[in-house]
Amino acid sequence: MQAKRAATITAAFLSLACLISYLISPAWAWNPTEMQDLPETDNSTDYDVSGANGRFDIYTAGGTNGLQVGEDGDSIAFLIKLANSSEPGNRFSIQNLATGDQYEVDFTIGNYTFAILFRAIIIRFFIITIRIGTCSLYYKLASGGSWSSAEYYLRVGLTSGTTYTSANGNIGFALTNATSTSPGSVKFIIKKQRLYDLGARGNLVSDIYALATANGNGQPYTGTPNDRCPSTGGATWTLQGDIPDLPMGILILALPLIAIYIYISKHMRMIHGSKIAH
């Protein structure tokens, strides 16, 4: 009896703790750091429009996968590799960015297609150059329709290797300069919960492709495409956790409540049973 009572009280307190933790948003690791190559992205179409330089060149040399993906409990990440070059002016770097340079990843989860993109804005004022980066998230029905704006983040001042996060933490980006020997990159981070709120369901990410374009206006698939990876179609990636992970708070809360209900039902039967016996 004592043991049952202790177990019941423990279950009740666990339920309370679960409910409280559900009401308070959990803090997860936000930036997936373990990135892995995305299969099927070992080729790209180098349009090289108007002799545009190598800062748009998605790196797929020698069968290298040009895209990477990463995931943690909270977020997903995409990374576009950009080719190295021995010519400093002919490779991806923050110093070489021009207004309208746009790097974009498109992908589909469930019934919705998403596009996350970086666009550069360069402002020159006498001898001062201000480098601005914007990151936008758009979505639309996979079956068609128009893009809807979901998130926009503008950052004044950019540094290679720094991860920038929007005020609500829903989106972020990081740029890494290419060097003479190593590729550069544009990395995007998106919160799973935000994707869920916008209609994403399940764990299959399909039709993944990246675009590097000049003169983009900040909306998906605008400007002059210089490179696309893969060159046709899109890659597929299966998430370890759904979008988002199950609403664990409700689930964890429900289980002890069910246990308590069963226990009470049995207990009441026992009491009534003993009354009849008397």
């Binding site: 339920s15 809807s148 704006s149 983040y153 503008l154 409540l257 207990h267 009491i271």
Partner: protein, 140 residues
Amino acid sequence: MGQKSRISARKLTALLFIIIAALLALMILSLYRQLSQSTEVRSVEAGLIEAEGSPTIYFNLKNIGANTANYTYRVICNLTAEPTLDEGIILNVPPGGIFYYTIALTSPEQGTLEVTLEVYKDEETVSQNLLFRQKWIIKG
């Protein structure tokens, strides 16, 4: 012995019902909070986060209308060559949908930075479409 057992069982049952009632009350409170958030009448909520060296202004725009809508925003700054630091169109926000905007600036080395945010319904920045206007003064 049997009566003592019945009394302790009643106490236990009462305790369990109190705990379950408390849980139900918390769940109802949680649902009420969610509902009150979804029916709030303000469509734009904005603020300034004074991070070290990087003041950040944000706004959350919720479409509280019955139809999908476009909006326009403009960020005006006193320390740039062009007064408009950023402007753009917010496309196809569905009813109940929320658009989140963030602008992270750099603190001025001296003087003050004045930033004005304007949000308009539709795609024209005319006064009759103005939904929200706020100015922040950031000291260097």
